[in-house]
């Protein structure tokens, strides 16, 4: 369990301290990112199906294409999120004179994404719950489809279930941030204070953005 996932979640300090003894490896973090992407793809399918349902029969082929495309984008999204988090943390840590290679940073950032797997699973559940309660109106023109899509966004933003899903996302993001603090501390050789700031500033801003979105201020 010295390098197990449970240790990453509950005792990231000692986990990353132990990982620093070996060469950086991106295999496991990449796997974690792919799992997150897979969950995102699964989550995107019901949304695409829902959109397909309002398309006329002659456009159902396009709908299938759209479903595949959405799932693909969501799948790649996991890897993309990993990369973005890694680079952001790497560059922010540079402000605090962090030292350590990018590969190590990416590795530890990837481990820090593990809570997102749980968040993704719960989020997917909420997405299914939300979409199963929606009625698909008859749409006969592209204008109506655009109007419906805009309304759908409004509904998803205002539904309590969607807001709860957003809160769950934030909670798991906080958990990830906690892991990243320990990760940056070792990967970039930062003090605990600098590691907290390195992770806290970008994640804090992102959480603020999420909260504002949930409150409907945007």
């Amino acid at each position: 369990m010295d390098t197990g996932f449970l240790r990453v979640l509950l005792d990231p300090g000692h986990f990353f301290e132990a990982r620093m003894q070996g060469e950086p490896s991106l295999k496991v973090p990449a796997l974690i990112a792919l799992v997150i992407g897979l969950i995102g793809a699964v989550s995107a399918i019901p949304m695409a199906d829902f959109t397909m349902a309002m398309l006329p029969a002659e456009m159902q082929g396009l709908g299938v294409l759209m479903t595949v495309f959405s799932a693909g984008v969501a799948f790649v999204g996991g890897l993309l999120a990993w990369a973005i988090y890694g680079f952001v943390l790497y560059f922010v840590s540079m402000i605090f004179k962090g030292q350590g290679d990018l590969k190590r940073t990416m590795e530890f950032t990837g481990y820090g994404l593990i809570p997102q797997i749980f968040g993704g699973i719960i989020g997917t559940y909420f997405t299914y719950q939300l979409l199963s309660g929606l009625n698909v109106p008859p749409v006969t023109s592209p204008e109506q489809m655009v109007e419906f899509s805009e309304n759908l966004v409004t509904i998803l933003a205002t539904d309590p279930l969607a807001q709860i899903a957003g809160l769950v996302t934030i909670l798991f993001l906080i958990w990830s941030a906690n892991i990243w603090i320990f990760g940056m501390k070792y990967a970039r050789n930062l003090s605990t204070r600098d590691a907290v700031l390195t992770v806290g500033i970008p994640v804090g801003l992102y959480i603020l953005y999420l909260l504002i979105t949930l409150a409907g201020w945007l």
């Binding site: 000692h14 109106p137 309304n151 539904d159 892991i179």
Partner: protein, 379 residues
Amino acid sequence: MKPLNVLIISLLCAAIAFTAPASAAPADVTVVSSSLDPPVLMKGDTGTLTVVIQNTGADTVAIRSARLYGSGVVPLSDPYPSVGELGAGNSKTFTFTVRAGNREGTFYPTFVLDFRDAAGSLRYPVPVQVENTPLSTSVISKPDAFAESRTADITVRVGNPRPNAASGVQVVPQGSGFAVTPTGGFIGTLVPDASGTVTFNLTPAAETDVTFQVVWRNGINTHTTDLMLPVAFGEDKRQADPVITNVEVTPIAGGYRIVGDVMNAGLESARSVLITPGAPATPTDPFRVYVVGTLDSDDISSFEVTFTADGTVEEIPVVVEYRDGDGNRYEATTMVGLGSTAAPLEEREDGGFPVTGIIVVVLVALGVAGAIYYSWKRT
């Protein structure tokens, strides 16, 4: 005949001639005045004819009887069978009750005074006018249209085109299916060519006919004249007319929100204006009902209502309830299409409140907090 007898008879006649009291001639008795109450009768009316005679001579006149002979009118009272003597310069009044016939015009019943002692009689035609013109009635003020339970002011004017005064004039509304205040209006005496008005507050409960009965007296005779006013419901040209515009339908979680403007395009104020979504929509919080209040003419107010509706519903009625100044309630309905905005969430079994979600959030929060606490404790 013997000369003596002739002489005796002649002396007797002379003695009678000299001893008998002196008597005025009938020509000295004249009718000095006559009057009729009421001055002008209507057909079938009963009136009182008064004749005053005066002895203008220097001697007493013996009168046996006085009577009235009808012409166009019927004397109802008995004649005066034994009048007696009328002293010099004295006058005497005779009163007869008469009833007008069924013809109009001026009639001359004859007043006859019979003198005693075969002194002849006095015949005097008394003019009696019979005119059947009733009082005229008209509605001079009423609303353009009546509405159920809406109080309307109705003004009735009563005029007197008759040559004599009408007394005790009053107007009494009659009929069913309405309430009226006052229940009757009193005008009193109307002299010739005068008029009086009475205003009623009429509140119809159904379409009906209201009869304004004008009751009045000509002398002792009571007459009525009816004026019928049909009460038919219609649209008041001045009434408030709430119009809904600028409607925007937005789906929200669990239903829809409609925002828009309501404007009073009528000429009168709309009071206590309430806006609600009608069936098949089901109003929901926070805006089950939107209270606008009073909307004066040309006023505009925004409103917002929230509701749920089945996904198959394409349009719902937005109901505007309002009252007029009398408190009568009206409704105006505007259909609002939901169109492609029909994407509400189905109502959850727990009434829309995601209890499970809250529990999950709490559990996750506890778990994350515990994990973070544990990770720092281990450091």
